[in-house]
Chain length 135, copies 6
């Protein structure tokens, strides 16, 4: 059940087709997952969203691809986004995440949530030593 119908023939729109072609080429697969197929209802939003994901997640950068996907999963769990948890857990596996690393990722996310709630509940004052804004 979604709030926006997946277009029946999205690639009849040349802007959508261009994005889908780029997804297939970048990921070396014919599989276009539902996020992109749903976003096809608004080609501009599809283009900008894919462009941003491609630039940050698919290009060489200062972090390795698996680390980037695990960070993505961590945020998606904390924001309770079912779709992104599934799609980025799959992406992390595709980049080599082992079962042991998955268990550890989940354990860290869970521990962070635990101490987040503890510190927030205690309203622990931030140590002056942590202030990066100081001279």
């Amino acid at each position: 059940m979604s709030t926006r119908k997946i277009p029946a023939d999205p690639e009849s729109d040349p802007r959508v087709k261009a994005v889908f072609d780029d997804i297939r080429a970048t990921r070396r697969t014919d599989f276009i997952n539902n996020l992109w197929r749903t976003l096809a209802f608004d080609p501009a939003l599809l283009e900008s969203t894919w462009g941003e994901v491609k630039a940050l997640m698919a290009a060489p950068s200062h972090l390795d691809p698996l680390t980037k996907e695990m960070i993505y999963v961590a945020v998606s769990i904390a924001n309770a986004c079912t779709y992104c948890i599934h799609s980025h857990t799959a992406a992390a596996r595709a980049r080599g995440m082992t079962d042991a690393q998955h268990a550890e990722l989940l354990a860290i996310v869970a521990l962070a949530a635990k101490t987040n709630h503890l510190c927030t509940g205690l309203q622990v004052p931030v140590d002056a030593a942590f202030d990066a804004g100081a001279a």
Copy 2:
């Protein structure tokens, strides 16, 4: 301003002193940050919390120390925990996080939040291909 007063002389309690000694030994520093000093009001809670953080974050494991701290920061941002954002950003820097990596960490967290809200707003149905629970 906090909901629990930091004890004036926490190490007069031998259980607290033992934990603080372990923190100093594990981290090779004399600095005990406010979370631990505040938790000293309840030695059992202090012991279990430090024990869990030490086991997961300070021991060799399937993920490297910097990756673990960046995952911790990511969750803390999504949960809006001011204290943990500060303390774990500092910890990530102590483990070698460069300015470029910090910028990339923030960019990934921000992008994940963006697509989290987009997928949740659209209620994008999860692709069957992502179901790890299937046979």
Copy 3:
């Protein structure tokens, strides 16, 4: 799957019937959606919740009806409430939201989430110029 069974014949309770009658009259429809049918298990909670929704969302006010529904959708997305996302997206459409406005609503929600996480991750200090509490 819910944590509270929808009552089989809710309108046998006159307090529930009165609320349902008011919903039908206010919205000019025979459709009573599942939130109200579920809340029928507690007539007092049903009355107060509907009363509040009616007073704020269905009466003339300082904001137009479509703007009010879009604000409601925005909060529901950020709080990851599946039910409210669906029901208030439908309500916004019933008040005239076009496909282009829906796409823009989603884009703003997503952008806000992005900069929310960025500002929280950076712990950007609030500019004094923004303080409405100042004299």
Copy 4:
């Protein structure tokens, strides 16, 4: 720093004065905390908010007053509301919460957050046995 200036002489408005008088009488104190003083900028919002808080939190009901305040604190921590964490932790203490109970409240909130993130990360399917909606 706030987004709305606290009115200088809020009780010059008779509707505000009536609410403040009721707060003082209900709580048997002369202290009016900042939430109510800030809300004085909109008497209708002040009246409805106080009315709801009074009816639910200050009247005899199916849960004892301390339990109600601890539930309030728990939600406020999870929603990261600094003001409500402070005001309702103080209210719980005023209703007799001991240091040991405070520590236990925080430990439960932290554990719940931990398993919340674990279950969400694993997307654990809900057991059919938990479905209260079934016949």
Copy 5:
């Protein structure tokens, strides 16, 4: 649909069997719910998670068992964890929560969320009187 397959025969692992035996003995039931069956993929994570839940939720303490479960439900709702909402609402019922108490729990959670958003939107400054950290 889950991100981790429930193991087919989890109790073939003696560490898993020991935890499951302890769950059955502690709860006096043969029912092992899906969280534990899913966590069986990582016996260490299973052991530590169950150990923590058992110590805090199943042992005599400073709060009564029903209060503890209601606090757990409150946090799970605020964190939008579908699984925990279901499992801990069922646990609260098993500890005697009546329909009237359930309605009141939900009403308090909803009211807290309302004033959380109100205080956060107004950025109400915390009253000095609430500072437990002061001398």
Copy 6:
């Protein structure tokens, strides 16, 4: 206190100066608020973030400027982002938001949060009538 120091002379970098010039021209003011000054530590992140904000919030579109700012505030409250609440409440006022509209915005955000938590706590099943994905 922030996790990244605001650069002392950000406009010595021509990329930063170009963005700041564009902010001043677009907003017709000399005031550069702290978000942009902080982001100056990474010109690429500064450019992309400002570019996205400008395109969505400062250009003519399908929603009026005030509605867009109020949606932004609503999301920022739900995500508990102190900085964005302040900056976008100020932006909404600059676009004409009256005190009465501000009160109503806050009341809608608070009510949405209330019913979000209520629906999530009850796990109300989504009505088939709301499924926009159906044919």
